[in-house]
């Protein structure tokens, strides 16, 4: 008998727009000692399916319309709230996506850790605490005796996720549901957490449901993979089957969306175009506080027509470099020569003219568009500002831009909130291209998007780059994405350059330990490479 057997589960959400079949007749099972991955994009119903098993979806608007979920033979969906509570946190535990918000900021981690043990098993507080310390040690928290009395804000994101895992395991559950447990983490931390979950799972022989939007993440650890789209299961199989013999077109699309392979570099001679010398950008120079050296003494060249990848974890200063080049933050010292003009010294009209030549594409397509301006207003603004089109021709200019970025012309008078994330990013790209720039800084342009959309946007940027002859600085935390698009890669760590080279050199012959670590953290290497 399976540990968990879900049959014909259906969950509806009733909204103002009507009834949404979030989960539509799905069946799957989870075995003890196995990791079952449920893969799908946001809105595919993967999380709703698992939350509804434990009565954790808000009802209304959600409602469970039918199906059974046999956990060790008894149906979770038929249980009363009281019976469910006895299962939650005791036999079935959960880990959530964002460790920053999932721990109560007002309680010490110790208080939160022992709660399930004290509540479900009536263990005396002192014993529970001892158990918590052991478990913290096991999940890799240093010095648990003293850190157990710290508050969540005193831990880093990765450490908090370890605390969450310890909290989930403290009652030795039989089933662990992990909902995107590594999505909010840096890539090296992600690798550590994935390894930890796999280790703990095999040691305890428990069943795990691993929910993720990213096939690559589960490539190394999943035994069974279930692929969901729009509330239904489109394909299921073991790891080998999914990665090597995917049948459903959607699964194939997900697989092909995993960035892989290297861009072919042309070995032509290029002009030096942008020269960055000894760039320092420091923040918060107070009287007593030492400044935060976000970018420290960085020098590099970007050649005309080149796509330079800038890779590093959060806090490495990669975004600050991009913003420094565009004068969006104040540079502390050093120079940025753009086509032989020092950008850091420009003022007034010269600066405005320079801004026309260099543009930026931002990470969050929800924040990078003014919510009160229609697509037309957004795109017409730069066209008119720089006199690229006049009042009479601006309409055609806007429509042309929409064609270029692959947006239907009929959307021209819509507002940002009426578009999906991918469509918004297209608008943002259109705005950046409107000034006919020569150089574009793309700051994590795809990391907020679903994987299949990521691939589309990367393709679009690649094509437009060729068409417009753009030079690009592509900033990302994701080596795989950068490898896909960049001609050359710079690896940053704590504001300084660690290593640079062509993608081939970096991937096959990394010189520095840090680069090596980054490479090892790329999920799915074993299956994909």
């Amino acid at each position: 008998m399976s540990l968990l057997e879900v049959n014909n589960l259906r969950v509806n959400f009733t909204t103002r727009m009507g009834v949404n079949k979030a989960v539509d007749d799905i069946s799957f099972s989870v075995e003890s000692g196995k990791i079952t991955a449920i893969i799908g994009e946001s809105g595919s119903g993967k999380s709703v399916a698992c939350y509804s098993l434990l009565g954790l979806i808000p009802q209304p608007p959600g409602s469970i319309e039918g199906g059974t979920a046999l956990f060790e033979g008894s149906d979770l969906l038929q249980m009363s709230e009281r019976e469910l509570r006895a299962v939650r946190g005791r036999d079935i535990a959960m880990i959530f996506q964002d460790p920053m918000t999932c721990l109560n900021p007002h309680m010490t981690i110790g208080q939160q850790l022992i709660e399930p043990l004290v509540y479900h098993k009536k263990v005396p507080t002192a014993d529970a605490r001892a158990r918590a310390v052991e478990l913290l040690e096991e999940v890799g928290i240093r010095d648990p005796q003293s850190t157990i009395d710290d508050y969540p804000h005193q831990f880093s994101g990765g450490m908090r996720q370890r605390v969450m895992i310890a909290m989930a395991l403290i009652n030795e559950p039989k089933l662990l549901i992990a909902d995107e447990p590594t999505t909010a983490l840096d890539v090296t931390i992600q690798a550590q957490i994935l390894k930890l979950i796999a280790n703990l799972q095999s040691k305890r022989d428990i069943g795990v449901i691993f929910i993720s939007h990213d096939l690559a993440v589960v490539a190394d650890i999943a035994d069974e993979i279930v692929v969901m789209q729009n509330g239904v299961i489109v394909e299921r199989g073991n790891r080998e089957g999914i990665f090597h013999n995917a049948r459903h077109p959607y699964t194939q699309k997900l697989l092909s969306a995993i960035p892989s392979g290297t861009k072919q570099t042309n070995e032509e001679d290029r002009d030096p175009f942008i020269a960055v010398r000894n760039l320092c950008t420091w923040f918060g120079q107070g009287k007593n506080n030492p400044p935060n050296k976000a970018v420290n003494n960085v020098s590099f060249n970007i050649e005309r027509g080149e796509v330079l990848g800038l890779v590093g974890e959060s806090g490495s200063g990669k975004s600050t470099i991009g913003r420094s080049l565009l004068r969006l933050v104040q540079v502390t010292s050093g120079s940025v020569a753009f086509d032989d003009t020092d950008v850091t010294a420009l003022q007034g009209r010269d600066l405005k003219n320079m801004r026309r030549r260099m543009q930026m594409i931002f990470q969050d397509p929800y924040a990078s568009l003014n919510p009160r301006m229609s697509v037309y207003d957004t795109l017409a603004e730069p066209l008119l500002l720089h006199g690229i089109e006049n009042k009479a021709s601006v309409e055609q200019g806007v429509l042309k831009l929409m064609d270029d970025v692959g947006l239907a012309r009929g959307f021209v008078r819509k507002y940002p909130h009426e578009f999906s994330g991918g469509q918004r990013q297209r608008i943002a790209i259109g705005r950046a291209l409107a000034t006919r720039p020569e150089f574009i800084v793309a700051d994590e342009p795809v990391s907020a998007l679903d994987v299949t959309i990521q691939a589309q946007i990367l393709d679009l940027m690649h094509d437009l780059g060729e068409e417009y002859g753009l030079t690009m600085l592509f900033v990302s935390h994701d080596l795989a994405v950068v490898r896909h698009i960049a001609d050359r890669i710079i690896v940053l760590y704590k504001g300084e350059i660690v290593e640079q080279g062509s993608p081939d050199e970096l991937f096959n012959r990394p010189q520095e330990d840090y680069t090596q670590r980054l490479l090892e953290s790329i999920p799915g290497r074993t299956v994909l490479v």
Partner: protein
Amino acid sequence: MWRFISIRLLQAIPVILAVITVTFFLVRVAPGGPFDSEKAVIPEVKAALEAQYRLDLPLYQQYVAYLGDLAQGELGPSFKYPGRSVNELIGAGLPVTAELGLYALFVALCLGGVAGVIAALKPNTPQDYIPMSAAMIGICMPTFLLGPLLVLLFGIHLDWLPVSGWGDIPGDKILPSFTLGAAYAAYIARLGRAGMLEVMSQDYIRTARAKGLPQWQVVIKHALRGGMIPVVSFLGPAFAGLLAGSFVVETIFQIPGLGRFYVQAAFNRDYTMILGTTVFLSTLIVLFNLLSDILAAWMNPRLRAQYGSD
């Protein structure tokens, strides 16, 4: 934490000093001297009186002398009640007003806090609408209207409760306390509801539920602390409001408290009394703001740690 408290205390000093200075000069430049009303005062008597109240000195010397008095806790003599000092009058009125304010605060916290939490637990149901409609009435019904209406209903029409005095007849404290507390109960209910709703939608509440804790434990152990922070921050401003409310309530119910003294002093143009009471009340308000800030900061572990590292 101590650093936070001492920083905030230091910040309070210029505020209090500013209050004293502004009040002092405002009162001194006010048109009409305190003895203008008493006609035909013999010039010698007037001069003697002015010397007694230091009105013959240049303004800045009066100010310095006043500061000196204040430093010794001396608020000066009353213009209107010769022979009585502002200290005495405050000493007589303060206990009454403090008691009234305390009861009102108790009413506000109990009624408002409970109503807010209850409403937040089942938003958009009758359990939410009923207390929140009551709160809306509380906000739109000013104290000086609610007081007379309550008197009319419970005091005169139903004849259940006494309608004036303080501590003379049993039960005479009920109506004033409720009148003063009602509006703040309403504010607290709305703040508490908003705070609780915000907290209850946090991810860590879902974590607590995923642990299998029953609803009441989730609310009391995990949600209440965060949800009540806005209420605690509101206590400072609420205190200032209660003091101002006491002017009205003490007038309506004829309670011999500080508020009524203040209003009477304002009518009588008893300048030293106004000056002294303003300085005293202002200091009290500044200190209470401080207290509620400290309490709110202490409830936030991140702030507590930030200032507690030394």
